[in-house]
């Protein structure tokens, strides 16, 4: 269940697509079986770098869907550049994935 990342060039723009694995619990949802509130557990920060430079820095709440999908576009990138996406959640857990632009 690793995070998936794909990047490809479309003209002068890199298309970056990322699929993360995360429950994205808002802290408002009640478990259907126990009736107890499921504690908040969601990604709070996502950053994307291309060639070591930060291109997108995002702050998230629990309103992003479970197993988040994120697509971005970056101009000035070129085939072979390394794209890295990493996230941190409200529990301090984190994950990083890198791929080269195809």
């Amino acid at each position: 269940m690793a995070m998936k990342l794909r990047a490809s060039m479309s003209g002068d723009t890199a298309d970056i697509k990322c699929l993360m694995n995360h429950p994205m619990e808002t802290g408002l949802r009640k478990d259907a079986a126990s009736g107890k509130v499921v504690p908040a557990h969601f990604i709070t920060n996502v950053t994307c770098t291309v060639g070591g430079k930060t291109v997108v820095d995002a702050q998230w709440g629990g309103g992003v869907s479970k197993n988040p999908y994120l697509a971005l576009k970056v101009k000035g990138a070129k085939s072979g550049d390394t794209v890295t996406v990493n996230w941190v959640d409200n529990k301090g857990e984190k994950e990083t994935v890198s791929a080269n632009i195809g």
Binding site: L28, T44, V50, Q59, G62, G63, V64, A77
Partner: protein, 152 residues
């Protein structure tokens, strides 16, 4: 909060202050949106927190979303700002219990575009607030939600 968390917090806050003092980061870059904005339950308060209260409605801020979402847990949304010099985009689902979904800051060639999937508790507007040249602009799209996706 235990001692370890306090120390961790102090450490990271210290690092940020040093970076600000060194001129590496402007305070506005780091604290683009107060984390509290994500806990606000009122759409008006959220708009104020993302600097979008006085945002001018602008056709250059385009929100793409389905007219009808059968499953509110997964609503595909994309936002494009065609306003030159856009530095950030915030996404707000007006009638969610917690309306602020996300805020994205762009730099180093990133196009002012983002696509993701969001949760929607009820039929409402998805509002995007784009900032460019110190001004805020907004666009929106109404999404009718058949089954809400925020649990409960």
């Amino acid at each position: 909060m235990d001692r370890r968390q306090v120390l961790k917090g102090a450490g990271s806050a210290g690092a940020v202050s040093v970076a600000i003092a060194a001129g590496l980061l402007k305070p506005t870059d780091v604290f683009a949106v107060d984390a509290k904005a994500f806990a606000a339950s009122d759409a008006g308060a959220v708009m104020a927190a993302v600097g979008g209260s006085g945002a001018e409605a602008n056709a250059g801020v385009v929100v793409g979303a389905p007219d009808i979402a059968e499953n509110g847990a997964v609503v595909p949304v994309d936002v494009t700002s065609n306003i030159a010099g856009t530095t950030s985009i915030a996404i707000v689902a007006e009638k969610n219990s917690l309306p602020l979904i996300a805020e994205f800051s762009f730099s180093n060639g990133a196009v002012a575009y983002v696509a993701t999937r969001i949760k929607m508790g009820a039929t409402s507007n998805v509002i995007a607030v784009a900032k460019a040249g110190g001004k805020a602009y907004k666009g929106h799209k109404e999404v009718k939600v058949t089954i809400g996706g925020c649990g409960g």
